[in-house]
Symmetry: C2
Subunit: 236 residues, 2 copies
């Protein structure tokens, strides 16, 4: 296997925060994805430093980290803003995700070993369990599902040796979360997502790259359609 597979990530994401700035960064990121801070909203350091209980410079650094994820945009001398949302943007994100994720899956299927297969099966199992608990409609169960859904998609491309594809993939996934949250709000899992995931797993384990990537593409694009059918003024 390639050395890069074991190399540290481009941006540390799995580790727990070791610095105040990173803690504030995570809270802010969560709040932006959750919609606490609305798209386009101005993020004033003076107000937010009290809210997140850090110094001005520290919060500034947290905001800078969010610029890396493109969840915040910075305009020199004019402060920070929550990155705006639009249907066009989500379409762009989704198509780029398809491009990267299918390529990564293809490589995973070609290169993945037994351990990779096992991790895919395991992640799929965890996700299935989370789906069962989704019925209660609680926020906790949906967050659990979000996390495991992400873990599942990461496991699928886990054997892809390209650190860069995984890095970009990571950024786009965060972006998607912001939009997917909208689609879940109105129509909580109407699609038979489970069957789609099952089909991807089957094709992947059968080492059928063409089939797996085809299903994955449709799977990702379906979320775009779901958001498209929301009321037009939902994205503001």
């Amino acid at each position: 296997m390639n050395d890069l597979a074991n190399a540290p990530d481009l941006v540390s994401d799995s580790d727990e925060p070791k610095t105040l700035a990173e803690t504030a960064y995570r809270q802010l990121r969560r709040d932006i994805i959750e919609g606490v801070h609305r798209p386009g909203e101005k993020l004033r350091v003076e107000h937010l430093k009290d809210q997140y209980e850090v110094g001005a410079g520290t919060l500034r650094e947290a905001l800078q980290l969010l610029v890396t994820d493109a969840l915040v945009v910075a305009q020199g001398q004019r402060g920070f803003r929550v990155a705006p949302m639009s249907l066009d943007d989500f379409a762009d994100i989704t198509r780029t995700r398809v491009l990267l994720e299918t390529s990564a899956l293809q490589q995973s299927i070609e290169l993945g070993d037994d351990a990779w297969e096992a991790s895919v099966v395991a992640a799929f199992h965890m996700l299935s369990r989370a789906e069962d608990k989704l019925g209660d409609g609680s926020k906790a169960s949906r967050e659990e599902w979000e996390m495991r859904n992400r873990a599942f998609h990461e496991a699928l491309i886990g054997a892809c040796p390209s650190r860069w594809i995984r890095h970009f993939q990571n950024i786009l996934y965060h972006q998607s979360e912001r939009y997917r949250r909208l689609s879940l709000f109105r129509q909580p899992i109407p699609r038979d997502v489970h069957a789609e995931h099952q089909a991807i797993v089957d094709a992947a384990l059968a080492r059928n790259g063409a089939e797996a990537t085809r299903i994955l593409s449709e799977h990702i694009l379906r979320t775009l359609e779901a958001v498209r059918q929301l009321p037009a003024d939902f994205i503001n």
Copy 2:
């Protein structure tokens, strides 16, 4: 044409720096790409703040910006380092670039209008002129060529409506520059790059997407081969 084509960039790059932090960021970026700061080198804020004549917090912010470009890696509580270089990494960068840039070129060819064609021809002309002046071997002429080469590649994918692909493409191009600098050091333009560019332009204007992307792929991958044939210890 898509709205996104005229939307502001994800990270402002063309504008001139409006803040001290951004000025320091550009100088640092240049120095890292040029190899003044070697790969893996520790970047101590206390030393660098004098060298770049800014405060500690400001330099810190500049370093954070470089993390976005993945030219610097930050480890919580353990400071900053110049991103390491390796042949595997360059191979990864190059393959990912091919994936993104061919997709972008394909879309450009499908969607580009007359203005796009004109900009491609113009950029190619500028690049050709720069190639003529390359004979003197001066640093200025090589920098001019670098800039126009980049402008040419940007023009090619200029009609691609995906802001995200262009954003990632941008990051990868900066990364490539670091490595390409090495290959130019020993063998200054041995390949017939001009003919390759000409072939891409011809295919693009003929709206032959398959041919154009094929040539572009080979074109980009050739740089990888050039670096591969350098002495093994060149990348440290």
